[in-house]
Amino acid sequence: MTSELLHDQQKPRTYSFDARPHEPAGAKPAKRLSPARIMIYSLLFVATLYYLLPLYVMVMTSLKGLPEIRLGNIFSPPMKLTFAPWVKAWDGACTGLYCEGLKVGFWNSIKITVPSTIVSIAVASVNGYALTNWKFKGSEVFFAILIFGSFIPYQVMLFPLVIITRELGIFGSLSGIVFIHTIFGMPILTLLFRNYFMSLPPELFKAARVDGAGFWRIFLVILVPMSLPIFAVALILQVTGIWNDFLFGLVFAGLKNFPMTVQLNNIVNATQGVKEYNVNMAAALLTGLVPLSIYFISGKLFVRGIAAGAVKG
């Protein structure tokens, strides 16, 4: 009996020793490149080239002198490297009457973007919170109207808004343009925040109410700290949107406060004198730098926010 048992126990071991090499065992081997894979990768490669090529041309052109540009070899790297176009674009290019470069527009854009972003996100997040957790009579209707607002092309509202801001006495001023950006950011941002707050467990809100926290305390102490990802998304949306805005800046900001995009346009479309392609390229790159860096910076914040905000384990 005992020997039989022992014998039985040994049997499977011998089996496993002469397992055939092709029998699946252990880690699954990596697949070799299949034709489909090769297709996909080459397609992706071409697409990447397609999008990177213009950027490459811009960077190269901005680093060349005008004589070299006139030779016409747009793909060749600069023979004589120069940063003068960048300096000129920043400091000395003519935007209409003044020749102070893009730096004026840059600071204007900062002055517009920072308060607009903060105010619009602050208002919209409170909106979304109230619409989710403090439903009032007609809150659904209010929300529907708000969402409907995001479907109206904003050119339609341009003229009425000019009149409204004029009546408010903020037309052509910094507060005017901040007001406009806050208004136009409202529908999409409110939707964003409402949907996010809807996805949080309602018990959290109930528990906080039992704990005696009021409207603002629940929002600021409980909800905001666990909503960093959505704030990051809103930040990206607003900063890039407001920075890249041209029309509102042109109409509402007033001469003194023209944002970078408007000034860029003035530089590039200047009709008098030679076309300084290198300066134009440098100016365009400078203008695009801010949204680009926002993507990189807040992308990280985004991931960290998700990791920190883990609700359930």
């Binding site: 467990p201 109930k206 528990a207 109410r209 039992v210 704990d211 926290a213 920190a308 905000g309 384990g313």
Partner: protein, 361 residues
Amino acid sequence: MNSIEIKDLSLRFGEVEVLKNLNLSIHKGEFLVLLGSSGCGKSTLLNCVAGLLDLSHGQIFIDERNVTWEEPKDRGIGMVFQSYALYPQMSVRGNLSFGLKNAGIPKAEIAKRIQRAAEILQIQDLLHRKPAALSGGQRQRVAIGRALVRDVDVFLFDEPLSNLDAKLRADLRVEINRLHHRLKNTMIYVTHDQIEAMTLADRIAVMRDGNILQLDVPSQIYNRPINKYIAGFIGSPSMNFLEGKLSAGDNPSFIFGDERFDMSRYRFDGEGQQNGATTLGVRPEHIRTGNAAQEMPISRNIVVEVVEPMGSDTLVRTHLAGQEFRLRMDGLASVNKGDNLLVGFDPAQVSLFETTSEQRL
């Protein structure tokens, strides 16, 4: 003195009436369990008591005080949720102290209360941790602690153990029981788990479709359910129902198929016996087999059709006069499909229901 009194409470969500003219009085220090299947309005009722939902109609009194329009924080309640609902960005200590800080309680007092709650719940070592770093059982302890530090007279539990695995559930159940005996405060405990209800409750309120069907001590709910729904809902495996008719008289009997059961030992409720279509309910665990069956007032021979061993006991399925019939046997009993078996039960332990109204006779 009543700790909680609910008068004519109705609650509507738009067109749907979720709670219907509900009345309920809970004594001071009582452990009341609201038991019912999912969606019957248990959580809604609890939220009404907590002040998290506005009533459509009716009043709520806590400690003789009309709190119908009061904010949750002013009602003197603590609440524990199924999903724990811990504030994820705060440590355990932060979670416990949040409500106390909101109430403006001095720091020293807060520390003292947290200390005491942590001791009772055995979470002293976890105070600095974030909820994400806790297991399910620990999280629920913290959630209970959050109600505990509030030093209130009434605890509301909304299925606090449903998210835990079976073993933890059993452990925490005992702890909640112990907690109640120690604190002696009023507790309303919502569950759809009848074991929790039977083991914890002083009284059980069985709910269905926004009504309270029966409010009684667990043994009455189990032994003398007032209608067929409750009889079927309580007990696992569920009660056998045999359809037949009652012939009333000095020696009332239940007749179904060719069978006739003598019901003279049955204790009729209120209005007493009446002739007509009747359902007889008998619990699988009340059925004896073999020699024990012989001593029962009613016994019959059956053929075993399906055997389901469950370890501690064995469930046997069969038919009795053409109607489905289950019985529970000891896990050690050797019984096989096709066996002949003598089964018997005592009419004193069965329930009779009028077939159309499903009310207990």
